[in-house]
Symmetry: none
Subunit: 401 residues, 2 copies
């Protein structure tokens, strides 16, 4: 029996409210042996108080040693096994530019490239065009029509764009047409099954047309495609948990990931303060609130230790405004670690706290990597976090008699 079936069997209606605050890339590393991590350095009196009254632990996003991207990182937190539910790169790229992909879509990452007179690639990134030049080239691609399908072309930045093919019976088992090399022509698309061959036929026709309409664009005179991906079949939050869920995120990618699992996407503007104001405004309308905070990750990616410390402290400051709403379950975690020492996502377990009436408190009085090691949740798989959220919210009945 899989976990979602179990939850559907056991779940019980309740009026309780759950807040999941995801500080992206929360976990970190000390700069040198014996030092403190970003979270250990930050002054976080409010999170520390939650750790004291609540229960803490460390979340393993996928498996020990596995560094997740944003997709698997969030799917895990949402209770979907990230090794079972996979989000193709094309879909993630489309989510990242806030394109509302749907069930009949194949989403694909596109790169503008430069082709020589012999049709061979001379620059895989078309000289890294400006975003303006990208947009102009995308406008040309938008003139292309292929019978039987709808096409959407959206600019990303520099040489990158997204192509979405909408139609019936389209597969995504299509090879990348980007040969990942110069001096060779782009590859022809081929489908590994009948549905995917249909996609490949559309794509080959599209590329042929693209070469024609781009002919006058100088360095941008060709395009390659990769990361073919259909919309993943994912049961919604309402279906699995019986929760009416809202996503309060600033960045398109995270709105997109929340939309994948059927959350309502609210528009809180661009600030953390705006997110909390939105949370307050819609408090009576939802059971579950996913708040996403980006800057713990982006400062980590920048390798900026003090900036990440600062962003953690800013997050800590708004915690009282969330607690004022009296959530029945308040969870703070991250989708993965992003140590500024590594300037990248990492595999390290993520500090997590859960505050609820029926949580069994541990001896932890501080929210940090080191302290959470002694926490009552132990080290747990991220995909089990929603089980704990549901249980502490009084929303799961007994299994078996």
């Amino acid at each position: 029996m899989n976990i979602h079936e179990l939850i559907r069997d056991l779940r019980e209606p309740a009026k309780t409210k759950i807040v999941l605050l995801v500080a992206d890339g929360l976990g970190g590393l000390s700069r040198q042996p014996g030092g403190l991590t970003e979270l250990e350095t930050a002054k976080t009196p409010n999170l520390d108080a939650c750790a004291k009254d609540g229960v803490t632990g460390l979340s393993i996003p996928v498996l020990p040693g596995i560094t997740p991207g944003s997709g698997p990182g969030h799917l895990g937190l949402f209770g979907y096994d990230p090794l079972e539910y996979r989000i193709g790169r094309g879909i993630l790229e489309a989510l990242g530019i806030n394109f509302a992909v749907g069930a009949r879509d194949v989403a694909i990452r596109g790169n503008f490239c430069t082709l020589g007179a012999d049709g061979k690639i001379t620059d895989r990134r078309a000289g890294r065009p400006t975003n303006e030049k990208n947009k102009a080239a995308v406008e040309k691609l938008r003139t292309i029509k292929i019978p039987g399908v709808e096409l959407f072309v959206e600019p990303v930045k520099e040489h990158r764009f997204v192509l979405v093919i909408r139609g019936d019976g389209l597969g995504d088992r299509v090879n990348d047409t980007d040969p990942q090399a110069v001096g060779v022509p782009p590859l022809k698309a081929e489908g590994a099954d009948a549905a995917s061959q249909r996609t490949a036929d559309v794509v080959n026709a599209f590329i042929a047309e693209a070469t024609k309409v781009l002919a006058s664009e100088g360095a941008i005179n060709g395009a390659t495609l990769r990361g073919f991906a259909t919309y993943p079949k994912i049961a919604t939050f309402a279906d699995v948990y019986g929760l009416k869920a809202a996503a309060i995120a600033v960045y398109p990618m995270y709105k997109g990931l929340a939309r994948l699992v059927g959350m309502d996407i609210l528009d809180p503007g661009q600030t953390l303060q705006g997110q909390v104001e939105t949370l307050t405004k819609v408090w009576n309308d939802y059971d579950f609130f996913f708040l996403h905070y980006k800057y713990t990750d982006s400062t980590g990616e920048d390798g900026n230790f003090p900036a990440k410390v600062d962003m953690i402290e800013k997050l800590d400051e708004i915690v009282p405004d969330i607690l004022k709403l009296k959530p029945d379950v308040f969870i703070v975690t991250g989708d993965h670690s992003t140590p500024s020492k590594m300037k990248s996502h990492s595999w390290h377990p993520v500090p997590t706290l859960l505050l609820a009436d029926m949580c069994r408190a541990d001896e932890v009085t501080e929210f940090s990597e080191r302290a959470c090691l002694r926490g009552g949740l132990g080290q747990f798989q991220a995909m089990h976090l929603m089980l704990l959220a549901m249980a502490h919210a009084g929303r799961l009945g007994k299994y078996g008699a």
Copy 2:
């Protein structure tokens, strides 16, 4: 390879003895933040000494956040994956009244109800009859004969009884005939497959006869059935572990669960002292002893914090009598937590200690939820406990060369 196959491959004969002492619902919660749990409050010098010399940890009965009933709770401790082995409600009800269900049985929960002249239910519980009236009505039902099967009707209490149908090729995929509502007639039983339709046919004939024989019983003039369940196919303790196992329990339900996995059921009377005397008496006859202590659960269910503390202290007092027998492996755990704060089973991990010559002791010197968090067993799945028991008993060989 599943765990039972692995154990069959690796197990080695030995003369060692294992005692598994299950304090039902052992784990608890503090009454307010910062307070102590029932186990932390109780004076348990003997269990603390075991924790000091042994290794401790916390058992997760099913999955994080999942609250088990007694069935899955015990199956896990016995080393059977509680998500794979499911015990139907009818079987559990039969076990609870000490009915020896077998491989050819379908067990069903019955409710006496009151039917109006139009055949519609006016009271789903027949006015909650006395146990005496229940027994009288059951006697009437016992007169019913259906060709090709044996029928057993057993009183439970008030409006509840158990029906067991014994025969060949009977399925249990039959809908409840209890419509869970008044003002409507009982539902007809229908089988989801051929074997289950055979059961449904027997049941429909039984209900038709029941309505006739009960006609003169006043408020008890009908019956509904639910929780159809065949006997689960479970390999025995002897088959999986090569252990000759005895159950020393007071309550029928736990005797029944032990019988399911093939343990011998001893009769220790009604007291803990009687249980330990029985243990002493049969010490030379078995390899494995399951001792079940109910009162840590029942006081928790009552929401009586001091009574649960008291019951834990009473359990602690008999520990020296068990240790006198020099078990090679002595385990104390629970099938789940029953915090008196919740008056119910819960999902919280269960304090566990294992004392054996070859255990690697940790720094824990006290048997409590908080202390066990620092224990050498960590947080582990209950279904892995028997692997640890077998290993520490010198009964598992090396895996691979």
